[in-house]
């Protein structure tokens, strides 16, 4: 091994890591995996009690091709590389892929006039297989589309994935191959004296390199470590609707609108679990932790969804959710290495993070100019399949019976999610790992059984222990 190569975990002196990744979102998980597989001793520091608890808990679950990314940017390259690596590794990790393709649909003549430019952008982004379609051809592919289609093109490579099993798999592979994860570990500060000495709420951490993948708090972390931040997070909220599985037959492709400067717009697409998803909105806000739902906005989303697919009016909305994207004051990703401080910021991954994560991890690895000493025979975890496109656990013997009926989640799946290298620590974490209570009844049938099944087994219990009764004096007039 060359003298300055990344040492393998076994060679590492106790207590020092080669790399500390701050933030266990999809980007942090992918980076942790990349460095671990390249032989580094890695620790992931997450301030929440559970992984994927920030921007990564809510997105549209699409594996993009990058056809509409700004040409020549890191974002475009990272999506391209990330998409390719996902296809390469997904089977070994047990990750789903619904290769349905997308239709970009213009709903006005003005939008239709912009389609040729978008096709040219796709070609410039090396997405050569886009197919321009007339309105009639688009309707032939998607007969449920509402009136007003003015033109479209098809992007065959756009696909649907499970937005949580993918990052869980990246992190689980890192952990299986020697990385450490510290939860409830907020980075309060740190100093660099050749090595980083980080002060966290779980004690001190010593590391050679710090990668800031702190998402919605990326600028705060940069400020704490470097004294000032080169970027400022401007959270952008997205609200979503999820329709019942009966609605999934209404759209075969991912239905994308013609994007604007600000947002990719309202997407209608199936999910890997066989539902139909509509969203997101794009709403600027100050708050970095709470993504509040708004009834009127959701009703507007429903109206938009019914304009795109009129038959949706006869289908049930089974879930509503909102997420925050870590946008910044600039449009692009904010990735920057500060070699003299052994620091790399991966900020402003405001969208497309799920598609770009593996590509960003490759890029960040290249920014750290140590030669790799890859693990000779890395271990590959296999994640339980939750997608409707492959065999589910309920179809196999010994599953313990179905507990969550709407999503057909078995007792064995729940038990598995509470154990293993990356066990669920919160109820939200259990939902992301198994889909319990995420179906049409939202816990009407299985809520009580789950409270029993998870009692004493989650770091943050499913039900809060009620403290003092609320005081009516706290009411607003």
């Amino acid at each position: 091994m060359p003298e300055n190569a990344l040492p393998s975990r076994r060679d590492a002196p106790d207590g020092r890591y080669d790399v500390a990744v701050i933030g266990a979102g999809v980007v942090g998980c992918a980076i942790a995996r990349r460095f671990t597989l390249d032989g580094a001793r890695v620790v992931v520091l997450e301030k929440a009690a559970e992984v994927l608890d920030g921007a990564s808990k809510a997105n549209s679950a699409i594996l993009h091709t990058g056809f509409d990314a700004p040409v020549g940017t890191l974002e475009a390259a990272a999506i391209r590389a990330g998409h390719a690596e996902y296809l390469e590794i997904r089977e070994r990790l047990g990750l789903p892929l619904i290769a349905c393709g997308a239709l970009v649909v213009a709903w006005t003549e003005a939008e239709a006039a912009r389609l040729p430019a978008l096709v040219a952008t796709a070609h410039a982004n090396e997405v050569a297989d886009v197919v321009p379609l007339s309105a009639a051809e688009a309707r032939a592919l998607e007969p449920e589309l509402g009136p007003g289609v003015a033109g479209a093109f098809r992007v065959p490579g756009e696909a649907l994935i499970d937005p949580w099993s993918a990052p869980h798999a990246y992190l689980a592979q890192a952990l299986l191959n020697g990385a450490d994860l510290r939860l409830d570990a907020e980075v309060r500060g740190g100093r660099h004296d050749g090595d980083w000495r980080l002060d966290t709420t779980q004690g001190p951490v010593r590391a050679g390199l710090v990668v800031n993948a702190a998402g919605l708090f990326g600028d705060h972390v940069e400020e704490r470590l470097l004294g000032a931040s080169r970027f400022a997070i401007r959270p952008r909220k997205g609200q979503f609707l999820v329709y019942d599985k009966t609605a999934a037959a209404l759209a075969s492709h991912i239905l994308l609108p013609v994007p604007t400067e600000i947002t990719k717009g309202i997407v209608v697409c199936r999910t890997a679990w066989g539902n139909l998803l509509v969203g997101p909105t794009a709403e600027e806000q100050e708050d970095r932790t709470t993504a509040a739902l708004d009834g009127a906005t959701l009703a507007g989303l429903r109206a938009r969804a019914e304009a795109i697919l009129p038959a949706l009016k006869d289908h049930e909305i089974t879930a509503i959710y909102a997420g925050l994207r870590p946008a910044t004051e600039e449009k692009g990703y904010r990735v920057r290495a500060v070699p003299e401080r052994s620091y790399i910021a991966v900020g402003g991954i405001r969208s497309t993070g799920l598609s770009a994560a593996l590509g960003l991890a490759q890029h960040v690895r290249r920014l750290w100019d140590r030669p790799a000493a890859p693990i000779a025979a890395p271990l590959w975890p296999t994640l339980p399949n939750l997608a409707e496109t492959a065999t589910r656990d309920w179809q196999r013997p010994g599953n313990g019976g179905i507990v969550c009926h709407c999503e057909r989640v078995t007792r064995r799946e729940i038990e598995a999610a509470l154990a293993g290298p990356l066990p669920a620590r919160t109820f939200a974490g259990l939902k992301r790992r198994t889909r319990v209570t995420m179906g049409r009844c939202q816990g009407f049938y299985c809520g009580a059984a789950l409270a029993g099944l998870t009692a004493g087994r989650l770091a943050v219990p499913m039900l809060a222990e009620p403290g003092d009764a609320p005081d009516r004096e706290a009411d607003d007039a």
């Binding site: 999820v242 019942d244 599985k245 009966t246 932790t289 709470t290 993504a291 509040a292 739902l293 708004d294 009834g295 009127a296 906005t297 959701l298 009703a299 429903r302 006869d314 049930e316 909305i317 089974t318 509503i320 309920w394 179809q395 196999r396 013997p397 010994g398 599953n399 313990g400 019976g401 179905i402 009926h405 709407c406 057909r408 109820f427 049409r440 009844c441 939202q442 816990g443 009407f444 049938y445 809520g447 009580a448 059984a449 409270a451 029993g452 943050v460 499913m462 039900l463 809060a464 009620p466 003092d468 009764a469 609320p470 005081d471 009516r472 004096e473 706290a474 009411d475 607003d476 007039a477």
Partner: protein
């Protein structure tokens, strides 16, 4: 593999009573229940009154559920708990899931009795954050009566259908004191004397008030309410019980070859309980939102008789039929198809109004038929005698309310 004469999907009041009756008709019966125990919703409605007509005494829900399940077993029905029907196919053929994995069953007849559930927070598009402490009555009752938990201390009860008062009884049992009942309409939905209960317990009912947002991070800490005048106020509370807004748990119908009635949200049936596949019947609250356990019990028993008649080839042909469509003022009508001649006109149509209404029903057959005048509110039971429908009528006819303000 030859299956049983009858497979019943769902072991609630309708399914179990159908099982008992079907055994009395000499049929070989399997009841398939996805929960670990038979009994359905009454299992966690730990208060009276259940069972007065069925067993001649007032019982709590769990006692009634146990009694029904025991009676079905004594009658010789096989109850398979922990087994889910995941699909219904023509044949009929049922695709099953259990601890043993996937399986199947090919009975001669199927009776769907999968019941109802309440409308969720998501389907109501209620804004705000997503803390713990927001649930339907069914979840609350399961937590309190099956798990011995107390998920909050001072919740708001949203809605005033009968089930909202059941939620109050559950709260009382657990030492939970609701802050208030919240009703978007101008009046309490459930019939008198239900509204006496909150008054006796000192729980205010806020009428003309809608829940628009929920606040709190880990646990609910406030609710944002909006009055009829559009003004909003924030109320401190640690839980939200979303009651009622029942809808049939008809996923099996929606994902099968069976015709669904968008008005009820359940399968379309004729007066013999036959769905659009004459080998598949339905009974109980999967047919419509929503009736009492006692009503479902009697409905299950009746439909079991029709299943037996069907196996003896003694039912009229499913076509031609008169198809009824709920119109102006009616939310739904059940059954949706009427078949056979004069000899097949026992019983009545079930109906509900969409809003507080007074008037008389009019069926637009040739000639049109009018029924007795009434005044009613949503969620309240209404009927129309089948015998009043013209015996020879076929095709499609609306049934609507001819308003009459003088009746209010």
């Amino acid at each position: 593999m030859s299956g049983p004469d009858l497979a019943i999907v769902g072991a609630g009041p309708a399914g179990l009573s159908a099982a008992i009756a079907a055994r009395r008709h000499g049929l070989d019966v399997v009841v398939i229940e996805r929960e670990g125990e038979a009994g359905g919703i009454p299992r966690h409605c730990a208060h009276p009154p259940f069972g007065l007509r069925e067993f001649g005494r007032v019982m709590t829900g769990p006692a009634y559920a146990r009694r029904l399940a025991a009676a079905a077993r004594e009658a010789g029905a096989e109850i398979r708990t922990g087994t889910t029907v995941v699909a219904i196919e023509p044949g009929p053929r049922l695709v099953l899931a259990s601890d043993a994995g996937a399986g199947e069953l090919a009975p001669r007849r199927v009776l769907l009795a999968t019941g109802v559930r309440e409308t969720t927070r998501a389907a109501r598009l209620i804004g705000g954050s997503k803390p713990a402490g927001v649930m339907n009555t069914g979840t609350l009752q399961g937590l309190v009566h099956l798990e011995g938990r107390r998920p909050f201390l001072r919740p708001l009860i949203v809605g005033t259908e009968l089930v909202a008062f059941s939620a109050i009884l559950t709260c009382r049992h657990a030492g939970i004191v609701p802050r208030a009942m919240v009703e978007a309409g101008e009046a309490v939905t459930a019939r008198w004397p239900a509204a006496l209960l909150p008054r006796l317990l000192g729980i205010p009912i806020w009428r003309g008030t809608a829940l628009v947002a929920i606040e709190g991070e880990r646990q609910v800490n406030a609710a944002v309410l909006q009055g009829a005048d559009g003004r909003r106020r924030r109320v401190a509370t640690d839980g939200i019980v979303l009651t009622g807004g029942f809808r049939p748990e008809a996923t099996l119908v929606r994902t099968s070859h069976l015709a669904l009635d968008k008005a009820t949200g359940g399968p379309e049936i004729d007066q013999f309980g036959r769905t659009s596949d004459p080998a598949i019947f339905a009974a109980g609250n999967v047919l419509r939102p929503v009736e009492t356990a006692g009503w479902c019990f009697r409905e299950g028993r009746r439909m079991a008789g029709f299943v037996a008649a069907s196996l003896a080839d003694a039912l009229p042909d499913p076509e031609p039929s008169l198809r009824l469509v709920a119109a102006d003022g009616y939310a739904w009508v059940l059954p949706q198809r009427i078949v056979g001649g004069e000899g097949s006109r026992e019983g009545a149509l079930q109906l509900r109004v969409t809003r507080p209404l007074a008037g008389r029903p009019v069926v637009a057959t040739e000639p049109a038929v009018r029924g007795a005048p009434f005044a009613s509110r949503p969620e309240r039971r209404l009927s129309f005698p089948l015998a009043a429908l013209p015996a020879a009528a076929t095709g499609t006819a609306t049934i609507a309310v001819e308003p009459d303000e003088a009746l209010r």
